[in-house]
Amino acid sequence: MNILRKKSKANLPFSETVIELFIRLCGISSIIFVFGIFFFVFREGAGFLFSGLNLTEFLTSVEWQPTSLNNKRYGAFALIVGTFSVTALAMCMAVPFGLGAAIFVSEFCSPKLRETFKIVIELLAAIPSVVWGFIGLTLMNQLIIQVFNAPIGLTMLNGSIMLALMSVPIIVSIAEDALKAVPDSYREAAEALGATRWQVIYRVLLPAAKNGLLAAVLLGAARSIGETMAVLMATGHSVNIPSGPLSWIRTLTATIAAELGEVARGDEHYQVLFIIGILLFTITFVVNLIADLVIKGIRQE
């Protein structure tokens, strides 16, 4: 193996050596960047994380009073619940819709309609999240007030709908790629066995594409967890354990965005916001890890 490699390297023309070096640099630098970001976030929050912050209170208390003069409290539980509940509700809407749309586009669409559909999806993906927040703040707010007869429409439901609309394009495009990657020979073989279109889809295509479909769902969820602006504008942004879709909530990301500009660099509140950053890092890391494990499990099967 080693000998082979050395030999092939010796034979490489100069231009290829340069290209290989460049590609290597790109790969290594991306790793360095990720660690760099993590290091920075961690450094800013580390001081308070290891001395001063009551970690149990941080993870379980609902009292978030970082600006109180005589009774500062850093309980992020409601924020954690806010992030997870709004994401979960968003996924409840986005996953069926996104996967359904992907199946439609890849299996039922005429080529012409497919092109149109793809352009629409790409447009949807290109809308900045602040625009979604604006739509949530105005249009969806009114709609929820009228439909549910609610006092205020800036709720978890509102935020979820915005998040769903943002993650659907991701889910659709990745899931569609996964379905397109299933060889046509599978479809032909199943059709020759007298399978109807639906039987082909749920007996052959979905099992064959399950890795890609799972990746689509997880990336959609990751997008939701990380989203800031739209949820800040559409969910009411108040610390609260939600009792239902019409409760207002506040998320981890929105808290950082809203408060980081107000704090003095280096003080406790500032550091707590970075600890929230560490928490978000950990959450995405765990989600990715689970995804990896699940996919590995599927492969071994």
Binding site: R187, E188, A189, A192, A195, T196
Partner: protein, 251 residues
Amino acid sequence: MKNKIEISGLEVHYEGKPALNRVSFDVHENEILGIIGPAQSGKTTLLKVINRTLEFVPEASMEGTVKLDGVDISTIGDVYGLRRRIGMVLPLPVGLPLSIYDNVAFAPRAAGLRAKSQLDELVERCLQQAALWDEVKDRLNTLGTKLSGGQQQRLTIARALSHAPEVLCLDEFSIAIDPVTTMRIEEVLKTLKKEMTILLVTNLVQQAKRLADRTAFFLNGDLVEIDTTDVIFSDTPTQQATYDYVNGTFG
């Protein structure tokens, strides 16, 4: 002799380019009809017409009629049922990404069979017929796609037999199979023709000679000649092209 399939005036075009030109012939019940011809002569297209999977090829257009048991197949409403009356073995083995068991049970299940004991029995019988049972009986739950190419091809044969077809179409089934197993399957085909009609597309003219009762020679979308295999492989078929192709002096 009863005609199982009657084809008349069959024409197929792909985007206006002809693939089959006014082809007419009959397939007798319980015969093995060998179909030979060089690449691109329209053999695969012919099979796709018969099980109506040509309908999935958007650029294809078709004229003429194909009758199965005297009924024009284009008038059959239940196209899925029609496809199950015809077993299809495609040239490149396609194990569906399911377990070996589920591969074979796919068509019966799609047709509504649920009883476990019946499925078990069916799966075993089909795998036996395809000369695969002994190799896989201990691992029916592993993925069909994990089998070797030749095993996958036999799996597709088992799958094609699973819905008890009246017509079995084999498209160059022996490409990925070793000679010994090929011989075993050829023996199976000889017994199967008591129960069904077999269309055997093959690039191995000797295989047609061994198995077929009658042989059809296709060239560039034309049916050059169809006759008993003895005549086709004799020194005096009616067409010179047939003689040349069969004897390997073609082109």
